[in-house]
Symmetry: C2
Subunit: 441 residues, 2 copies
């Protein structure tokens, strides 16, 4: 597990966003002090973790002082957040992980960034993304073990939150890019429904699959960060027990024993806590649609990169170069047909939720593997991206190698607040049953 | 009607895109010659029409020469197009009609622009848009009569095509911003389904309502421009007669007699040409949803402008300032509820198309009125934006003041190719029946 260093748990960077928010609201701490401790942590650890694509300490502190000097705009006023370097920011460069865009400033905020600012949050810096959020890893390491992957593509966001560099960060998911890194690094992660978090100004957005997400170190932080994003009140945990379906999926055999045990144990504990837990099978249809996802992903990937393909044809990494080639064999008719098949599957997924509030399923196949360059399958996350269902990663267990083992809760599409409220109930129940978290498994 | 000037119809700028494309393909003309004549026309007329937000003749000619020197990439290779100044272009500034962005270059192409380039087209320049495509008019005049409005918000695109400055231009529609200017200026206009033309990289896009469109001087040009946009083959006119519903709508009384006659006469001619034409009523539901559209439009308008509201709070025009204030009284729950109501209406609109290929309805209330500053109601276009239905404007008639009078054909959402094929059948039938076009009415 991550070592907090000599300053230990007294440093403000160790606070969750909700704890920091309380102390900011009461005047016990300032945003400037909080940001200073985050910056000190980054200074101490960045050479190992490589979580940041851009960081200007003076700019971060300047924002913090401005927030300290003005009336509070919301619960997260003065709290820092790391922004995935795929989102434009008015006052910082955005490279999209693409070498030709290194150091390029676009002069505007993406909608999600504008919402953070409107809520009074401090944009701490830009977190490392893989090139245009593709699955090919970059330089970020797993804070728990620098020989292991932090997951892709929101690598820097998950690593920075896990390493106590920032209480919050955001990300995007096209395959498993929010849930995967959250699970590899052991942080709470929320992937929204397709439009559950505003995608405005997300320049290289694949319109039918790219989704936003948020990461933090407790469930409350996700609720607060979502509220800041959508401009409303944070939802409260459900008062009643949710109806949960245990969904092992046809990929269950790919899950390591520690992951299988985490899911099974969670099911038992949730049942003990009062939830109904029913085992259901995933209809074969949802396995058969994989090829259609590849078509949509490839087609939209080339559309969103059309300008870069023209201007910088030789600057793409191996993964993106291959994808650009793959699409040459496709027609628009293929793309539309695959879109229709996926739409049909989404309607069937809605029906699969009849009688259930949440599905309980693995987040990943297991612990983060050794190696930074390996592209791992997002088999337990990709389906939920395709189905537009909101989900959360719960980092409650620790595997045999001392790495996080996480379970995933999935809700019906376009019911993000209800999903989060039910997931908060489940998280509280599991934490209470586990006693210490993370629990060795 | 627009006077072609001393060079008369011999100048290449008078050619439709499809005619120019034929001559380019055969080697009879060069792209450079074509672009030169377009530039000469602009030079002669721009001080009256004010259609262009940015024009660099050298850059346009440089593109044309490059296209002339390379293998043809598609049917529209070498054909110029004007791009609404709401779309980013890699090599030209994009002001979005917003004074703080005057002269600002963003360095990338929006997806639609990248598609035009991929098809070998010449980006002639940027056409005037109102501020962030809002309804408050700017400086462009109606080419047929400079005392009259060209319509908003794709004002420059429609005026430039009508004035023979460019054979093609594109636009966006949130209320009536493609169909309206097309009808005011008397050009063919196609408004896509919500995602019928790619919205990628459209920075200030209101995600659930903004739609792209194309303008040209004949139906074939719309078919070719759509094919270039989506990367496929141009659809061919339907071989069979479409089933048409004559839809006067509850706003019929707002239509001037010349508009009512244009629609009624078109219905009769289409019936004579072999189409079935059935009169149907618009259910009251589709009138009652207007308030919900205002909520979605206001809410998403503020989301998409969140960064500019923060950075340039005092730089908005009166319309946008008012909209920003309007949203202060709304909650996210209001927005979601209005979205649900509109979704429900869309499903009912799908059902209204049962048994019909096209609806025939007015494009506007009548001829373009005198006055450049008046904000006109888009009552006959807005519903179709809300319902995501593709539509075309047919400029076949001339009103008592010598201004265009246009009818609109609407297809079921997400059937853009079929709608265009049926509209091409209808256009051919109407042109054949009318003999001379535009026909005085």
């Amino acid at each position: 597990m991550v070592d907090l260093g000599t300053k230990g748990p007294m440093a403000l960077n160790a606070l969750t966003a909700s704890k920091a928010a309380e102390k900011l609201a009461s005047g016990e701490i300032t945003s400037e002090a909080l940001v200073r401790d985050c910056l000190a942590r980054i200074e101490a650890r960045e050479d190992v973790v490589n979580a940041w694509a851009f960081l200007d300490p003076d700019l971060a502190l300047e924002q913090a002082r401005a927030r300290d000097a003005e009336p509070r705009r919301g619960p997260l006023h003065g709290v820092p957040i790391g922004v995935k370097d795929i989102f434009d920011t008015a006052d910082m460069p955005t490279a999209h992980g693409f070498p030709p865009y290194e150091g390029k400033s676009w002069g505007v905020d993406s909608a999600c960034v504008a919402a953070f600012r409107k809520a009074g949050m401090v944009i701490l810096g830009k977190t490392v993304t893989t090139e245009f959020a593709c699955p090919q890893p970059l330089r970020t390491t797993n804070p728990h073990d620098p020989t292991r992957t932090p997951g892709v593509s929101s690598s820097g966001s998950a690593a920075a939150v896990a390493d106590f560099m920032t209480p919050l960060a955001n990300g995007t998911q096209t395959g498993g890019s929010v849930i995967g890194p959250s699970a590899n690094c052991g942080v709470y992660g929320y992937k929204a429904s397709l439009d559950g978090l505003d995608r405005g100004g997300f320049r290289h957005c694949k319109k039918s699959i790219d989704t936003l997400g948020l990461m933090g170190r407790c469930m409350d932080d996700l609720l607060l960060a979502r509220a800041a994003s959508v401009g409303g009140e944070a939802v409260r945990p459900s008062s009643g027990a949710p109806r949960i379906a245990l969904l092992r999926t046809p990929w269950w055999d790919q899950a390591e024993p520690c992951m299988q045990k985490a899911v099974e144990d969670s099911a038992a504990m949730l049942r003990d806590a009062g939830a109904t837990v029913t085992e259901i099978d995933l209809p074969a249809l949802f396995v058969e649609i994989e090829d259609h996802f590849a078509v949509v992903n490839g087609w939209e990937g080339c559309q969103m990169l059309a300008d870069e393909i023209r201007q910088y044809p030789d600057s793409f990494n191996a993964h993106n170069s291959e994808r650009i080639g793959y699409v040459d064999g496709l027609t628009e008719a293929d793309y539309f047909e695959s879109g229709r098949v996926l739409d049909g599957a989404r309607a069937k997924m809605d029906a699969l939720f009849d009688g259930f509030d949440l599905f309980l399923t693995p987040s990943l196949t297991g612990e983060a593997p050794v190696g930074l360059t390996e592209v791992r399958s997002a088999v337990f996350a990709r389906l939920w991206t395709q189905m537009y269902t909101p989900s959360v990663n719960l980092p409650l267990f620790e595997g045999p190698n001392g790495l996080p083992v996480c379970v995933q809760l999935v809700g019906k599409r376009d019911t993000d607040d209800a999903m989060l409220a039910n997931a908060a109930w489940a998280d509280a129940g599991l934490r209470s049953a586990l006693g210490t978290v993370p629990k060795k498994i």
